[in-house]
Point group: C2
Chain length 335, copies 2
Amino acid sequence: MTPAISPPKHVFSGVFELLERHLAQLDRFLAAQPKDFEPEIREMVVYAMAATGKRIRPALVFLSGWQGPDTVPHELIRAAAVVELIHLATLVHDDIMDDADIRRNRETAARKFGSTPAVLLGDALFAHALNLATQFSTTEVCAAVSDSTRRVCAGEIVQTMRRGSLAVSREEYSRIIELKTAELFRVSCLLGARLADAPGGYTDAAACFGRHLGVAYQIYDDLADYFGHADRIGKTLGTDLASGKVTLPLFILLERLNPSEAEALRAEVVGGHPPRLAEHSRQMRELGVFDAVQIEVESELTAAREALTPWRDRPSAGMLLGLADLLQEQLANLR
Amino acid sequence: MTPAISPPKHVFSGVFELLERHLAQLDRFLAAQPKDFEPEIREMVVYAMAATGKRIRPALVFLSGWQGPDTVPHELIRAAAVVELIHLATLVHDDIMDDADIRRNRETAARKFGSTPAVLLGDALFAHALNLATQFSTTEVCAAVSDSTRRVCAGEIVQTMRRGSLAVSREEYSRIIELKTAELFRVSCLLGARLADAPGGYTDAAACFGRHLGVAYQIYDDLADYFGHADRIGKTLGTDLASGKVTLPLFILLERLNPSEAEALRAEVVGGHPPRLAEHSRQMRELGVFDAVQIEVESELTAAREALTPWRDRPSAGMLLGLADLLQEQLANLR
């Protein structure tokens, strides 16, 4: 009944080592959730929960409300579980949309149970996450999380509607990642600080940090789709281009290619020609696309750090800043 | 921008005439919701909301909290909007699963926008409904609604997994309709009474009434799929048999047919033979299936009425009892 819950090694592992007790308690809390679902669907819930994410959002809750490695307030655990379950629900629905068979070396819920039950399973996970969010003394947590969830869905809708199309602008790309990724990063930081009774100014600063870190992380992730080492980041490369998703590296490459090369690449995006990933990674290196994307990530990281500057003496701020440093290191390692 | 929101005529129209002011305020409240969604998805939200349901669940909220035709408390309007939006979200997801092209004479959201955006659109509607549910002074409404939503999804999952299969028992059928239909009827009554500050005993009684009325309504609806007049109930008949859904009339028919006829019918359920609806309606009449199902509906209506007996002098109880009478009349009219 207990899901396999060790998070995979990833970009933030350096900071995660300090969160050992927090993450262990989160694991126990999450492992106790399936019993709150109807018996008929418990097995499906356990399966979906075993596809655990990288625990980045729970980590943001813990770090924003950080009071030392041995202080693990129950309210932070519950809030971390809420954001992780929302994230898991979106993964279940994402995998239906992407028609994905495999996530983290196992069949997706959509593949295992069929896409129709997977739609409903994602819904049930959403509903349960929001139910957990009502177990705080005020409506604040549930209000923040449901608002974020709506925004995440809006971002995913825009992204989905633009797939395989060149009619997506850079402004739209920014808006999509702001909604689909940065929003849940933001609310995770906000809740962590808020539940740890941090001053209002720090809560706002942490939320602002979370938002910029989220944008930086998504751009990094989009770059890794062209430059990552599949064995190191644990996913197939080139899926964005293959699925017609226009991300920042591709935008910049299209701007820099000569007209005939750009035309050929456009045909790959709209599905007219098979994608040539190796060729485009080479072009990106030669035309300085990596550098240009790196500048964008670093500018978001700078904005994230600046939000916390007035609070840098708070241990919590120091921990969050550590995440920004780790992301910057990993970005350099992609090269 | 304003969705077309006149509810279609239906089984409960007699009581609905008394709810004119309540429903008009609900319409205005619902018409104001799309602006709370991200601009990029507002048009989709308006479209999905125009596929308005029959407003049965909002009516249950209003009647359970009834204080006369001219007293329309804002909290009841908001709660009615919450349950209606949850119901609309489930319809958006249902239509994806049923691969339905048309609902109430217009294209389904899944057909118009594609099934992938429709999954996310349903999610956004869920999230917004639960966000509205946080706008009460305590977490109680949101807790009740999110709990119900999870149960509705569980019921739909079980139903979906059993489709096209004869391995569904009568107990499972009861459980499915208890979860997928009776649950939201129950919580609608509970919230109406609760928000009107009714005594706890009445709130429990109204919830119990709602649950039994929901079961009765679903069995009636399942019977109407074999005996209804398509022009009168506004939907295609025979969809349950065609989609392999084993409902109570079919259970009873299978029990009463001779072995070779039963075998032929089983082959239709699992998709081996095309469904012969007219033949089975005739068999159901001849073998007393209609009568047997009618007894089941009436037994649920009796249980519903009994729950309210100690409270029959409350005007609210009188209104709810009117719904039970209307359903009983409509059932007789199916014949």
